[in-house]
C-alpha cells in the first residue's frame, strides 16, 4: 500500500470539499465549499485549480469531463472524485487535527473548549 503524503491546510480543505460534495464536485462547487470552510479567509478560484492539479498529480483525486450544459455556455464540467490515497491522507490529517485539539483543550481547560465550541456553532448558524 502506497504511503499517503502529508497534506497542506489548503489541500485538506479541497479534499474535504470533494468528500462532502460527492458526485457534484467540480470547480465552482468545490470553490464555494472551500470558501465556506476557510471563512473568513478569501479563496480564489485559481488557487483551487492549482491545488486540484497538484492533488491529481499525487494520485489523491481523479477527474473526468461531463457533457456540456447550456447554463455553462455550452462548456463541460470537470468533476473530481476522491481516491483511496486521498481518503487515507485526509483521515490522517483529521486524526492529527483531533490530537492537536485534545492537547489544546487539556492545557487550556475543558471550559475554554466548551465555550469555543459554542462560539463556533453560533458563527456557523
Amino acid at each position: 500500500m502506497a504511503k499517503a503524503d502529508s497534506l497542506g491546510q489548503f489541500e485538506q480543505l479541497v479534499l474535504t470539499a470533494i468528500l462532502t460534495l460527492r458526485d457534484d464536485a467540480y470547480g465552482v462547487t468545490i470553490h464555494a465549499k472551500v470558501q465556506e470552510l476557510a471563512a473568513p479567509r478569501e479563496v480564489s478560484l485559481g488557487a483551487v485549480y492549482v491545488t486540484l492539479d497538484r492533488l491529481e498529480d499525487k494520485g489523491m483525486v481523479t477527474s473526468w469531463l461531463t457533457d456540456p450544459t447550456p447554463e455553462r455556455g455550452g462548456r463541460a464540467k470537470r468533476c473530481y472524485k476522491l481516491e483511496a490515497l486521498g481518503e487515507r491522507a485526509l483521515e490522517e490529517s483529521a486524526v492529527t487535527a483531533k490530537r492537536i485539539w485534545d492537547q489544546i483543550a487539556e492545557v487550556w481547560g475543558k471550559e475554554w473548549a466548551r465555550q469555543w465550541g459554542k462560539r463556533w456553532v453560533k458563527e456557523r448558524g
Partner: protein, 167 residues
C-alpha cells in the same frame, strides 16, 4: 462584450484546461468587471499550474545546456571578435532564454499528450525563429547557433521519448 472577453480568455487558456475553466467562469459571471478580475487572476494561476505539470526540470536543464552550447560553438566557429566582447557570454544567453521560454510555453499549450513528432518539431522551429529574432549576437552566430540548436534539441527530443518522466 461578454462574448469577446470569453474569446480572449479561450485564447489565453491552455487547451488542456480551457473547457472547464471557461465553463466555471461563465457560471460565476456577475458583472463584466468581476469577470475580468476573476479571469485575469484565474488564468494566471492556471497557466503557472499547467507549466508546472508539463515541465520536467531535468529536460529544461538539458535544453538550456544544449542551447547555450550551440550558440557558444556558433560564436567560436563564426570567428570574429564577438567572444572577446565584455557582454558576449550574457548576449549569448538571450536567444537561449527566448527559445527556452517558447519551448516551455509550447509544451504547456500542446493539445495532445504525448505530443506528435510534427507538433514538437514545429515548436522547436518556432522557438528558434524567436531566438533568431532576438538578434542578440552577430548574424552568422545566430544562424549557426539556431542550426546547431535544432539538431541538439531534436536529439534531446528523441531521447526524451525513450525515458520515463522525472518527478
Amino acid at each position: 462584450m461578454r462574448r469577446i472577453l470569453e474569446a480572449i480568455a479561450a485564447i489565453l487558456l491552455p487547451p488542456a484546461c480551457r473547457e472547464e475553466v471557461l465553463g466555471d467562469l461563465h457560471e460565476r459571471y456577475r458583472s463584466l468587471l468581476q469577470y475580468i478580475v476573476e479571469a485575469l487572476h484565474t488564468i494566471t494561476l492556471v497557466i503557472v499550474s499547467r507549466i508546472r505539470r508539463t515541465t520536467d526540470p531535468a529536460i529544461v536543464l538539458i535544453r538550456a545546456f544544449a542551447l547555450y552550447l550551440s550558440f557558444l560553438c556558433a560564436a567560436r566557429i563564426g570567428g570574429g571578435d564577438f567572444l572577446f566582447d565584455r557582454w558576449a557570454l550574457i548576449s549569448l544567453a538571450i536567444p537561449c532564454a527566448v527559445a527556452l521560454l517558447w519551448l516551455t510555453l509550447d509544451d504547456a499549450w500542446a493539445t495532445t499528450s504525448p505530443r506528435s513528432a510534427f507538433s514538437a518539431a514545429r515548436g522547436r522551429v518556432v522557438a528558434l525563429l524567436w531566438a533568431l529574432a532576438s538578434q542578440a549576437a552577430p548574424r552568422s552566430t545566430m544562424l549557426y547557433g539556431c542550426l546547431f540548436s535544432l539538431l541538439l534539441l531534436s536529439a534531446i527530443r528523441a531521447l526524451e521519448r525513450t525515458r520515463p518522466r522525472i518527478g
